[in-house]
């Protein structure tokens, strides 16, 4: 009998994943929702400073991927 086996895994936070974070992918309303979400760093995703943006991306990714529960 052919059956389906599910192999699960977690997502690692690395530069490759973070490069996929693009605020431009969101429309204006979505950007506002993300910015005001209260997620650490989310308000700085649209910062004009590249370093601030990079730190914000990592903070949001850590909240989302590692927060645990």
């Amino acid at each position: 009998m052919t059956v389906l086996n599910l192999r699960e895994f977690e997502f690692a936070i690395d530069d490759e994943l973070l490069t996929q974070f693009r605020l431009d992918d969101l429309d204006y309303e979505e950007q506002q929702l993300v910015s005001s979400s209260g997620i650490p760093g989310a308000a700085y995703l649209g910062s004009s400073d590249e370093r601030t943006r990079a730190e914000a991306r990592r903070a949001v990714a850590e909240f989302f991927l590692l927060g645990g529960g």
Binding site: M1, T2, V3, L4, N5, L6, R7, E8, F9, E10, F11, A12, E16, L17, L18, T19, Q20, F21, R22, L23, D25, L26, E29, E30, Q31, L33, V34, S36, S37, G38, I39, A42, L45, V60, A61, F63, F64, L65, L66, G67, G68, G69
Partner: protein, 318 residues
């Protein structure tokens, strides 16, 4: 009569200290860590207020000295009273019980107009996922019909018979899922990938491996480091396996998180999955990164709906 208790006043101070010490030995162990900390703080404040008030008296600041002394002693009295009250409540079993598990989730049924908005947003996420897959796999022959999306929300309508909740796909909160039977699948918390993401509150990916000899989906552990739990309890049932498309190749499963006063809670789960077309672990990681902000935005929309609080209370009885 004991020499130490003679009324000549000579041993009054050491006796008082010893008495407080004995009282402390009896009381301190029954206090919680928070109560001990609070009592220590109140005691320190009360003690420090004495030299502080004395200094102000010396400086002829009578009003300030009186105010500081009263505040410090008042704080001490309030703390002691609160602790005594809490101890009494604990003793007679009326103390408030903190839920062992609690979630704020969207109230069901979701109003039709909101459902339509959420459905539209989900379709947008699905299209976005499809576009990203074409970026990640430039030579792919994937079609949009191969990418599907769905949202699972907790339904507590069976709470009265002891089922905390089950995760189901509300009407219209799916896209590209043509099989009605598959859309009717339900998971208990911690059951299947969806149930597990709901409980763990972090995204997971999964790749389906077709084998000729297996007899079940891979068991999903309750916790990574917990080997004491019989994971067979969380395997999919035959009914669930029959409902899942045999063409399924991969899943990226996101918790729909809300940041609330309770911290970070998952209100539901959003799945993007693929049929017919395989993706590897790295490609799914890139897809996860590309969809994350869209999912955050979706969660915020869900958070704006009226909510229901689900709790499990575990209360010891006398």
């Amino acid at each position: 009569m004991n020499d130490n208790t003679q009324g000549d006043g000579k041993n009054l101070f050491p006796n008082a200290i010893a008495c407080i010490g004995r009282l402390g030995e009896k009381v301190i162990p029954v206090l919680s860590e928070k109560e001990r900390g609070l009592l220590l703080l109140a005691t320190l404040v009360a003690i420090l207020s004495l030299p502080g008030s004395g200094f102000l008296l010396w400086k002829d600041q009578y009003a300030w000295a009186f105010a500081i002394f009263c505040l410090a002693i008042g704080f001490f009295v309030v703390v002691v009273f609160a602790i005594l009250r809490s101890q009494a409540q604990r003793a007679d079993g009326t103390s408030p019980v903190v839920p062992a598990w609690t979630r704020l989730v969207p109230r069901l049924p979701i109003p039709e107009n909101k459902l339509a908005e959420l459905s539209e947003e989900l379709e947008d996420i699905r299209k976005h996922a499809f576009a990203k897959i074409r970026e990640i796999q430039p030579a792919t022959s994937i079609s949009q019909d191969d990418v599907r999306a769905n949202v699972f929300l907790p339904d507590a309508s069976n709470a009265a018979i002891g089922e905390v909740c089950s995760l189901y796909i509300p009407k219209n909160l799916h896209s590209g899922m043509n099989d009605a039977s598959e859309r009717e699948i339900r998971f208990r918390p911690n059951e299947g990938l969806t149930g597990r993401v709901f409980c763990r509150q972090r995204p997971l990916g999964a790749i389906v491996e077709v084998t000729q000899h297996g007899d079940d989906w891979t068991a999903i552990p309750v916790h990574d480091d917990d080997t004491s739990v019989d994971t067979r309890s969380f395997e999919l049932t035959g009914d669930q396996r029959n409902r899942i498309s045999s063409d399924l190749q991969w899943i990226v499963c996101f918790p729909l998180l809300a940041q609330s006063t309770q911290g970070r809670v998952a209100m539901g789960v959003l799945n993007i999955d693929g049929i017919h077309h395989a993706m590897d672990q790295r490609e799914l990681k890139l897809l996860c990164g590309a969809l994350m902000l869209k999912v955050v935005s979706y969660s915020e929309k869900l958070k704006q709906l009226p909510q229901t609080k689900l709790s499990i209370l575990v209360e010891d009885q006398k």
